[in-house]
Protein backbone atom coordinates (compact mmCIF):
# COMPACT_ATOMS: atom_id res chain seq x y z
CA UNK A 1 0.00 0.00 0.00
CA UNK A 2 1.69 3.17 -1.13
CA UNK A 3 -0.36 6.26 -0.43
CA UNK A 4 0.66 9.64 -1.89
CA UNK A 5 1.80 10.70 1.59
CA UNK A 6 3.97 7.63 1.88
CA UNK A 7 5.53 8.28 -1.52
CA UNK A 8 6.21 11.89 -0.55
CA UNK A 9 7.88 10.74 2.66
CA UNK A 10 10.12 8.29 0.82
CA UNK A 11 11.04 10.88 -1.80
CA UNK A 12 11.94 13.47 0.85
CA UNK A 13 14.02 10.95 2.81
CA UNK A 14 15.87 9.98 -0.39
CA UNK A 15 16.56 13.66 -1.15
CA UNK A 16 17.95 14.17 2.34
CA UNK A 17 20.07 11.05 1.93
CA UNK A 18 21.43 12.30 -1.40
CA UNK A 19 22.41 15.59 0.29
CA UNK A 20 24.14 13.67 3.08
CA UNK A 21 26.05 11.53 0.55
CA UNK A 22 27.26 14.74 -1.09
CA UNK A 23 28.24 16.18 2.30
CA UNK A 24 30.19 13.05 3.25
CA UNK A 25 32.09 13.30 -0.04
CA UNK A 26 32.54 17.05 0.22
CA UNK A 27 33.85 17.06 3.79
CA UNK A 28 36.65 14.77 2.65
CA UNK A 29 37.77 17.61 0.37
CA UNK A 30 37.17 20.20 3.12
CA UNK A 31 39.31 18.31 5.62
CA UNK A 32 42.10 17.70 3.10
CA UNK A 33 42.53 21.46 2.72
CA UNK A 34 42.66 22.31 6.40
CA UNK A 35 45.08 21.76 9.25
CA UNK A 36 45.03 21.71 13.04
CA UNK A 37 41.84 22.55 14.89
CA UNK A 38 40.01 23.48 11.69
CA UNK A 39 40.73 20.04 10.26
CA UNK A 40 39.56 18.48 13.52
CA UNK A 41 36.32 20.46 13.22
CA UNK A 42 35.89 19.20 9.66
CA UNK A 43 36.42 15.62 10.86
CA UNK A 44 33.78 16.05 13.56
CA UNK A 45 31.29 17.36 11.02
CA UNK A 46 32.22 14.62 8.55
CA UNK A 47 31.36 11.99 11.17
CA UNK A 48 28.08 13.76 11.95
CA UNK A 49 27.10 13.48 8.28
CA UNK A 50 28.05 9.80 8.19
CA UNK A 51 25.84 9.16 11.22
CA UNK A 52 22.96 11.08 9.62
CA UNK A 53 23.44 9.16 6.37
CA UNK A 54 23.24 5.84 8.24
CA UNK A 55 20.12 7.00 10.09
CA UNK A 56 18.39 7.98 6.84
CA UNK A 57 19.32 4.67 5.22
CA UNK A 58 17.82 2.80 8.16
CA UNK A 59 14.66 4.92 7.99
CA UNK A 60 14.27 4.16 4.29
CA UNK A 61 14.87 0.43 4.73
CA UNK A 62 12.32 0.29 7.54
CA UNK A 63 9.84 1.73 5.05
CA UNK A 64 10.73 -0.97 2.53
CA UNK A 65 12.58 1.43 0.24
CA UNK A 66 16.04 0.94 -1.23
CA UNK A 67 18.25 3.90 -0.14
CA UNK A 68 19.82 5.88 -2.98
CA UNK A 69 23.52 5.18 -3.43
CA UNK A 70 26.26 7.76 -3.28
CA UNK A 71 27.70 8.97 -6.56
CA UNK A 72 31.26 7.92 -7.35
CA UNK A 73 32.27 11.58 -7.44
CA UNK A 74 30.60 14.97 -7.15
CA UNK A 75 31.27 18.12 -9.07
CA UNK A 76 32.10 20.72 -6.45
CA UNK A 77 30.64 24.22 -6.80
CA UNK A 78 34.00 25.84 -6.05
CA UNK A 79 37.62 25.01 -6.58
CA UNK A 80 39.10 24.12 -3.21
CA UNK A 81 42.78 24.83 -2.74
CA UNK A 82 42.87 27.11 0.30
CA UNK A 83 41.47 26.93 3.85
CA UNK A 84 39.09 29.77 2.99
CA UNK A 85 37.73 27.85 0.01
CA UNK A 86 37.42 24.74 2.17
CA UNK A 87 35.28 26.68 4.66
CA UNK A 88 33.16 28.03 1.80
CA UNK A 89 32.57 24.50 0.55
CA UNK A 90 31.54 23.40 4.06
CA UNK A 91 29.01 26.26 4.19
CA UNK A 92 27.65 25.25 0.78
CA UNK A 93 27.30 21.60 1.83
CA UNK A 94 25.52 22.52 5.06
CA UNK A 95 23.13 24.87 3.29
CA UNK A 96 22.23 22.08 0.86
CA UNK A 97 21.71 19.64 3.70
CA UNK A 98 19.52 22.12 5.61
CA UNK A 99 17.36 22.66 2.54
CA UNK A 100 16.97 18.92 2.06
CA UNK A 101 15.89 18.42 5.67
CA UNK A 102 13.33 21.21 5.33
CA UNK A 103 11.72 18.84 2.81
CA UNK A 104 11.12 16.46 5.73
CA UNK A 105 9.62 19.28 7.80
CA UNK A 106 6.92 19.69 5.13
CA UNK A 107 5.68 16.11 5.62
CA UNK A 108 2.59 15.24 7.64
CA UNK A 109 4.34 12.58 9.75
CA UNK A 110 5.05 14.48 12.98
CA UNK A 111 8.03 12.42 14.12
CA UNK A 112 9.77 12.79 10.74
CA UNK A 113 8.95 16.49 10.81
CA UNK A 114 10.65 16.88 14.20
CA UNK A 115 13.63 14.81 13.06
CA UNK A 116 13.95 17.06 10.01
CA UNK A 117 13.77 20.20 12.13
CA UNK A 118 16.51 18.99 14.47
CA UNK A 119 18.72 18.19 11.48
CA UNK A 120 18.07 21.66 10.02
CA UNK A 121 19.24 23.09 13.32
CA UNK A 122 22.36 20.91 13.38
CA UNK A 123 23.24 21.92 9.82
CA UNK A 124 22.59 25.60 10.62
CA UNK A 125 24.91 25.44 13.64
CA UNK A 126 27.69 23.86 11.57
CA UNK A 127 27.16 26.34 8.73
CA UNK A 128 27.31 29.30 11.15
CA UNK A 129 30.58 28.00 12.60
CA UNK A 130 32.16 27.73 9.12
CA UNK A 131 30.67 30.99 7.90
CA UNK A 132 31.62 32.92 11.03
CA UNK A 133 28.21 34.56 11.07
CA UNK A 134 24.53 33.65 11.29
CA UNK A 135 21.69 33.90 8.78
CA UNK A 136 17.98 34.61 9.23
CA UNK A 137 16.58 31.63 7.31
CA UNK A 138 18.84 28.56 7.25
CA UNK A 139 17.89 26.20 4.41
CA UNK A 140 15.13 28.37 3.00
CA UNK A 141 15.60 29.57 -0.55
CA UNK A 142 14.88 33.11 -1.66
CA UNK A 143 11.94 31.88 -3.74
CA UNK A 144 10.36 30.19 -0.72
CA UNK A 145 10.64 33.44 1.22
CA UNK A 146 9.22 35.58 -1.57
CA UNK A 147 6.27 33.28 -2.22
CA UNK A 148 3.43 34.89 -0.21
CA UNK A 149 1.55 37.98 -1.38
CA UNK A 150 0.18 36.67 -4.62
CA UNK A 151 -3.47 36.59 -3.67
CA UNK A 152 -5.59 37.44 -6.63
Amino acid sequence: MTSPASLATTAALQAALAAEHAAVYGYGVVGANLTGSRQAAAMTDWVAHQVARDTLEAMLRSRGAEPVAAAVAYRLPVTVRTPGQAASLAVFLEDRVATAYLGLVALSDISIRQFGALQVRAAALRAAAWRGSTVAFPGLTASALAAPRHRS
Binding site: R113, F137, R149
Partner: protein, 188 residues
Amino acid sequence: MAASPTRRVALAAVVALPLAAASGCGGINVLAAPPRPAPDVALLRSAIAAEQLLIARYLNVLRDAGNPGGATSAARREDAADLTAALEPMLAEHRAHLAQLRSRLVVPADASPSPSERAPTAPAAPADPGAAAAYLRAAEQAAAAAMLDRLPHAPASLAQLLASISASEATHVPVLDAVILDTGRAAR
Protein backbone atom coordinates in the same frame (compact mmCIF):
# COMPACT_ATOMS: atom_id res chain seq x y z
CA MET B 1 -9.38 39.57 24.50
CA ALA B 2 -9.44 36.94 21.78
CA ALA B 3 -9.67 37.81 18.14
CA SER B 4 -13.16 38.42 16.84
CA PRO B 5 -14.58 35.14 15.55
CA THR B 6 -16.08 36.91 12.57
CA ARG B 7 -12.82 38.32 11.42
CA ARG B 8 -11.81 36.86 8.15
CA VAL B 9 -8.23 35.91 8.20
CA ALA B 10 -6.47 33.74 5.73
CA LEU B 11 -3.01 32.42 5.38
CA ALA B 12 -1.19 33.29 2.25
CA ALA B 13 -0.43 30.29 0.14
CA VAL B 14 3.20 29.49 -0.14
CA VAL B 15 5.11 27.34 -2.52
CA ALA B 16 7.88 26.06 -0.37
CA LEU B 17 9.33 22.72 -1.22
CA PRO B 18 12.81 23.99 -1.88
CA LEU B 19 14.13 20.71 -3.24
CA ALA B 20 11.54 20.30 -5.93
CA ALA B 21 12.92 23.30 -7.76
CA ALA B 22 10.20 23.27 -10.40
CA SER B 23 7.28 22.41 -8.17
CA GLY B 24 5.54 25.50 -9.49
CA CYS B 25 2.52 27.22 -8.06
CA GLY B 26 0.87 23.99 -7.15
CA GLY B 27 -2.40 22.92 -5.72
CA ILE B 28 -1.00 21.63 -2.43
CA ASN B 29 -1.00 24.76 -0.33
CA VAL B 30 -3.62 26.75 -2.14
CA LEU B 31 -5.23 29.59 -0.32
CA ALA B 32 -8.24 28.75 1.75
CA ALA B 33 -10.63 31.29 3.25
CA PRO B 34 -11.78 29.92 6.60
CA PRO B 35 -14.95 31.41 8.07
CA ARG B 36 -13.17 32.03 11.37
CA PRO B 37 -9.51 32.18 12.35
CA ALA B 38 -8.03 28.78 11.68
CA PRO B 39 -5.71 27.09 14.19
CA ASP B 40 -2.72 27.99 12.05
CA VAL B 41 -3.63 31.67 12.31
CA ALA B 42 -3.46 31.39 16.08
CA LEU B 43 -0.14 29.61 15.62
CA LEU B 44 1.17 32.36 13.39
CA ARG B 45 0.05 35.01 15.86
CA SER B 46 1.85 33.27 18.72
CA ALA B 47 5.02 33.03 16.62
CA ILE B 48 4.72 36.73 15.76
CA ALA B 49 4.29 37.63 19.43
CA ALA B 50 7.35 35.53 20.33
CA GLU B 51 9.49 37.36 17.76
CA GLN B 52 8.22 40.71 18.98
CA LEU B 53 9.16 39.79 22.54
CA LEU B 54 12.67 38.77 21.46
CA ILE B 55 13.10 42.03 19.56
CA ALA B 56 11.91 43.97 22.64
CA ARG B 57 14.51 42.15 24.73
CA TYR B 58 17.28 43.01 22.26
CA LEU B 59 16.18 46.65 22.21
CA ASN B 60 16.22 46.78 26.02
CA VAL B 61 19.76 45.45 26.11
CA LEU B 62 20.97 47.71 23.30
CA ARG B 63 19.43 50.79 24.90
CA ASP B 64 21.25 50.08 28.16
CA ALA B 65 24.50 49.24 26.37
CA GLY B 66 24.28 52.58 24.55
CA ASN B 67 23.98 54.42 27.89
CA PRO B 68 26.40 52.71 30.25
CA GLY B 69 26.38 55.74 32.57
CA GLY B 70 29.16 58.22 33.43
CA ALA B 71 30.70 56.35 36.34
CA THR B 72 31.42 53.09 34.49
CA SER B 73 34.92 51.85 33.84
CA ALA B 74 36.65 51.85 30.46
CA ALA B 75 36.54 48.02 30.41
CA ARG B 76 32.80 48.11 31.01
CA ARG B 77 32.29 50.62 28.21
CA GLU B 78 34.36 48.42 25.89
CA ASP B 79 32.24 45.40 26.81
CA ALA B 80 29.10 47.39 26.07
CA ALA B 81 30.47 48.39 22.64
CA ASP B 82 31.39 44.76 21.86
CA LEU B 83 27.95 43.65 22.96
CA THR B 84 26.28 46.17 20.67
CA ALA B 85 28.39 45.07 17.69
CA ALA B 86 27.51 41.41 18.33
CA LEU B 87 23.81 42.02 18.83
CA GLU B 88 22.99 44.21 15.84
CA PRO B 89 23.17 41.44 13.19
CA MET B 90 21.07 39.09 15.31
CA LEU B 91 18.47 41.79 15.95
CA ALA B 92 18.30 42.31 12.16
CA GLU B 93 17.65 38.58 11.73
CA HIS B 94 14.80 38.69 14.24
CA ARG B 95 13.31 41.62 12.34
CA ALA B 96 13.52 39.53 9.16
CA HIS B 97 11.79 36.64 10.99
CA LEU B 98 9.01 38.97 12.12
CA ALA B 99 8.53 40.45 8.64
CA GLN B 100 8.35 37.00 7.08
CA LEU B 101 5.84 35.74 9.65
CA ARG B 102 3.72 38.85 9.22
CA SER B 103 3.75 38.46 5.43
CA ARG B 104 1.95 35.13 5.86
CA LEU B 105 -0.82 36.65 7.94
CA VAL B 106 -3.36 38.33 5.75
CA VAL B 107 -5.82 40.50 7.65
CA PRO B 108 -8.38 42.77 5.95
CA ALA B 109 -7.90 46.52 6.35
CA ASP B 110 -10.97 47.02 8.54
CA ALA B 111 -9.79 44.59 11.20
CA SER B 112 -8.51 46.12 14.42
CA PRO B 113 -5.17 44.77 15.57
CA SER B 114 -5.41 41.86 17.97
CA PRO B 115 -3.55 42.07 21.28
CA SER B 116 -0.81 39.85 19.89
CA GLU B 117 -0.13 42.32 17.08
CA ARG B 118 0.82 45.08 19.50
CA ALA B 119 4.41 45.02 20.58
CA PRO B 120 4.82 43.26 23.92
CA THR B 121 6.98 44.79 26.62
CA ALA B 122 9.97 42.75 27.70
CA PRO B 123 11.15 42.58 31.30
CA ALA B 124 14.08 44.87 32.10
CA ALA B 125 17.46 43.56 31.00
CA PRO B 126 20.44 43.29 33.37
CA ALA B 127 22.78 46.28 33.12
CA ASP B 128 25.99 44.23 33.18
CA PRO B 129 26.98 43.33 29.55
CA GLY B 130 27.81 39.70 30.41
CA ALA B 131 24.57 39.25 32.30
CA ALA B 132 22.66 40.93 29.48
CA ALA B 133 24.15 38.47 26.98
CA ALA B 134 23.13 35.59 29.26
CA TYR B 135 19.61 37.03 29.47
CA LEU B 136 19.39 37.05 25.66
CA ARG B 137 20.94 33.59 25.43
CA ALA B 138 18.21 32.15 27.65
CA ALA B 139 15.56 33.97 25.61
CA GLU B 140 16.95 32.65 22.31
CA GLN B 141 17.07 29.09 23.60
CA ALA B 142 13.50 29.24 24.87
CA ALA B 143 12.27 30.85 21.64
CA ALA B 144 13.99 28.22 19.47
CA ALA B 145 12.40 25.42 21.50
CA ALA B 146 8.95 27.04 21.46
CA MET B 147 9.20 27.45 17.68
CA LEU B 148 9.78 23.68 17.35
CA ASP B 149 6.80 22.98 19.61
CA ARG B 150 4.59 24.75 17.05
CA LEU B 151 5.63 22.42 14.22
CA PRO B 152 3.09 19.60 14.70
CA HIS B 153 0.21 22.04 14.33
CA ALA B 154 1.47 23.99 11.33
CA PRO B 155 0.65 23.51 7.64
CA ALA B 156 3.63 22.36 5.58
CA SER B 157 5.04 25.64 4.31
CA LEU B 158 4.61 27.41 7.63
CA ALA B 159 6.28 24.45 9.38
CA GLN B 160 9.30 24.94 7.13
CA LEU B 161 9.47 28.63 7.98
CA LEU B 162 9.14 27.95 11.73
CA ALA B 163 11.84 25.26 11.59
CA SER B 164 14.18 27.61 9.74
CA ILE B 165 13.55 30.42 12.24
CA SER B 166 14.10 28.02 15.12
CA ALA B 167 17.43 26.96 13.58
CA SER B 168 18.44 30.60 13.13
CA GLU B 169 17.68 31.30 16.78
CA ALA B 170 19.67 28.23 17.83
CA THR B 171 22.71 29.64 15.97
CA HIS B 172 22.50 32.82 18.07
CA VAL B 173 23.24 30.83 21.23
CA PRO B 174 26.94 30.13 20.47
CA VAL B 175 27.40 33.76 19.40
CA LEU B 176 26.08 34.89 22.78
CA ASP B 177 28.24 32.25 24.50
CA ALA B 178 31.28 33.88 22.88
CA VAL B 179 30.13 37.32 24.09
CA ILE B 180 29.69 36.00 27.64
CA LEU B 181 33.18 34.49 27.53
CA ASP B 182 34.73 37.71 26.20
CA THR B 183 33.10 39.98 28.75
CA GLY B 184 34.25 37.66 31.52
CA ARG B 185 37.80 37.83 30.19
CA ALA B 186 37.78 41.62 29.88
CA ALA B 187 36.54 41.97 33.46
CA ARG B 188 39.66 40.32 34.84
